[in-house]
Symmetry: D3
Subunit: 130 residues, 6 copies
């Protein structure tokens, strides 16, 4: 279904394989998920997206599981089925328990609710928050 | 500007004051921000929304600063100016540093990017993620 | 600020005035709000948008106040400040009370919450709902 | 597929069964749809979400079918397949005809259109609407 | 699954057939896709939507392939699976190559990213841009 | 108002100045807009975002004005005031006329409308589009 097809490792150009190899090495895994196989139809997009994600998702002031949960918060808000599927898996791998998921989703649901309430009541920003 | 006005503490009914008092006690603060003053025009909404937020934002498997950052992730995705203003303040109060904000926003930006890429390339969900 | 400026009645071409006149006659009012003055920079967009809105917002199986509240539900979800401002005014004019607004927004908030929960928990559609 | 699984009535704890029983009694039905079975993996979320929805969706200044249509307006805007499926069913049960659905969706479509036009033309809010 | 069913040409009223015929003639094709068959359950919506799209998508200052790509940019941002599927097909028919799709999606992804960054950092609009 | 402040050229570190200099050289301009001054509070985000935008917005299979219009399509859909302001300016600089803007926004509005209609009527994807 993917618009430009999925490029498997064995069919990939050397340029694409370099990225695939780095994805597998960085993630300590031996397979590539469809997202990257779809982006591989345009190698500059594949490389730029991977380099950005690799840099951004590395642990820093926030640890990996926190970053993965933030990813899920955005993806649930945007109703992105692919990203929910793939990042639920990576969040679990990074240590997210069912209890953590439940608390995460409770906050996501509440934020989506109050975002629309703030817009709906046309609440002006408090002086102290400016 | 708020559609139904803002109800100040001194003008509030006893029913509303009970909620205002609980907000200030729970948050260890001495003022009420506009969001609650706007909801107070409909006391059942005020009470239900506060009770839910109080329950959801209490530390559990996730600590308070993590929950506040998740709130910001949703609010930035939804472009809600009020919630960005108020929850940036509460996230900072809970310990979010500039470095943590920067990493949070980097993940939020990347998730919004890849959500649209997954939709744009029509990537099908991998068997392993189902 | 409007990108292509606002076209006042006195500066409008006959083609634009016909639409302005119809807006004022249909809405039983004597002024034109900025949205239409902005669209007037491209008369075909002005005319097509007005003809569609006029047809859609006319009372039918749903009455005017219900239609205006649905408009607000969408506009709060999308965080559109202009549409919240203008359609709160028209909903009130059509009979929306503060109590109705409060119930409207409670449903809007809850729907935004459960939409993200359904995505977040990746709930599959029940057989009976297909 | 649901991330934390679906909890059937016969496998549910007494705490969860109390909610399931109340859902079935309130809705005058003898089954539970997947949304609740997914939330049941975290009983506090199940209970809080149900109590809120029960309170919000009860007829008041707005009747049930109006509330269900508002739910659909938000769910269509957010592109939530689960909520469209389940709330189309409940709106129909509450009396929504095909004609009402058509008028509802016409307003939803128009609101989504004009929301983006107002943003696209950067229309400033009229003095009278502030 | 479509809520009000799909109306095939042979079952369509003369009023609906007029629109179907115009769709096929305008698009130089011999079939009707499901979107129109679903809207046909409410002929005024079918006619109004088609007349608007026909007018808007006709080549003008922007050519057809540019308009189709803009359609895809919105649909990917909104996560609309149906519109991604149908407009990817029409964009290709209008001349969109894989390279053009890749550049389109790269811009869409970047815009979604920076939209959330601008909100997340609460960046104020520069004087020069007002 | 910007959460982490705005960093002016004269206060910027050498690392940030390198990016500012490249922005000004690439865009043939002598000033930096607030978006970059806000990101500069976290130099890795500044550099990564700029490098990505520079690569993505360079003319290729799509020319600059087309790319800028796609940016506007996403930003109007997301209701991002900052990005509407800044990219309206850059689209004009790249050659977007009022007529092009009008046609762009007409398509954006129509896509947002039909996206919600496709979801609202629950239209299934045609075999031919899969």
């Amino acid at each position: 279904m993917a618009t430009c097809g999925l490029i498997e490792y064995e069919d990939a150009s050397p340029e694409v394989r370099v990225v695939y190899d780095d994805i597998m090495a960085t993630r300590k895994t031996d397979w590539i998920n469809n997202f990257w196989k779809a982006l591989a139809s345009h190698p500059p997009t594949l490389r730029r997206t991977w380099e950005s994600i690799k840099q951004i998702m590395a642990p820093g002031a926030l640890d990996t599981v926190t970053k993965e949960m933030i990813y899920l918060a955005v993806s649930a808000t945007n109703q992105c089925p692919y990203c929910m599927a793939s990042h639920t898996a990576s969040a679990r791998k990074a240590g997210m328990t069912d209890q953590m998921l439940a608390e995460l989703m409770a906050v996501v649901g509440m934020a989506n609710q109050t975002n629309s309430l703030a817009a709906g009541y046309r609440v002006e920003i408090d002086e102290r928050f400016r």
